[in-house]
Amino acid sequence: MDAPRSDARAGGEPLVAVLLTWFLPGAGHLYLGRVAQGVVAFVVVGGMYWLGVKLAGGMTFEFLDPELRGAFSVALTPEVGNLGGLIWQMRSHGFGDPGYVPHPYPSGIWIGSLLAALSGLANMALMVDAHFSARAGAERRPGLSPAVFVVAGWAVPGLGHLLQGRVLRGVIVAVLLIGLFALGTVLSEGANLSRERHFYYWGAQLMCGLPAVLTEFVSGRPPVSGSMPYIDFGLTFGAMAGLLNAVVLMDVFAWQESKLLGRDPVADREKHRNRHRSAEVEIGESAA
């Protein structure tokens, strides 16, 4: 017999809302009955992807070396957050020129490539909002969606915490992650800023938000001028700054989620950790 449907999910199933949004920006919000948000999300996020592909002439994935091109090689790009857009791009443009004949990129490829990637990240924020809205339902307290704080924390590492009033944590995150990205850029002498040169590292680094985006466009992606003894560290640090910011955003999300559900964020996290520990003990005991 099916479990009774709780009031908390009266708005819709969270998984359905997320999957709809993943395939079509705004569709999850339409499913949840939030028509205006769904339409705006579709126009803005879908439009960003379309404009990005047009500006880049559909050539963004030509940045990938031919031997790296495969069925799943775009699964690690930020664009995968907007799966519908990515499928459309792959069907209409694929990896670009199949003959690998050298030809110039269009002048808009950098901004176009960035727009499509940002569309993927923006759609992930929409997925976060759709999932939480469906899950919280009638239990939701007044307050800004966790997705708002997640977007702020993406834009400037630490800003999500600052907006939540967690000043010390926000400052530490900002200093550590922006500092790590800056050090990575210095060690790699700016080589990390070019998506063409370091395709996947660039994708990870984009999670560091505006510091990464602005540095790329202000520097104009400097050319390689000589040997770079610490480039491995530089690329790793840049990518680490972005990936660690993704971990930070989970903390930001969890705090706001607990608040909006009327729970104590500290006790909530403690409960999660204890549950995790007892699961580990159970696994250890069963293995023994």
Binding site: L180, V247, S258, V266, R269
Partner: protein, 63 residues
């Protein structure tokens, strides 16, 4: 020698944000997160040393 020292310093710099951020994710309160830092740092550095030693030994004796 300077090169090896630089690698150790860069490793230490990379360790700091990893340990701090994961501690923040594990503890919603700042005090709990800071209290857990030394243990996390030791586990992380110890694990990296063990992994590096295993890789070096494999490089010497396997294949």
């Amino acid at each position: 020698m300077i090169g090896y020292l630089a690698y150790v310093v860069l490793f230490a710099i990379g360790t700091l944000p990893i340990v701090v951020v994961t501690s923040f994710l594990s503890h919603a309160d700042d005090r709990g997160a800071f209290r857990d830092l030394p243990r996390r740092a030791m586990v992380f550095v110890g694990s990296c040393i063990a992994l590096a030693a295993a890789l070096v030994l494999m490089g010497l004796y396997v294949g």
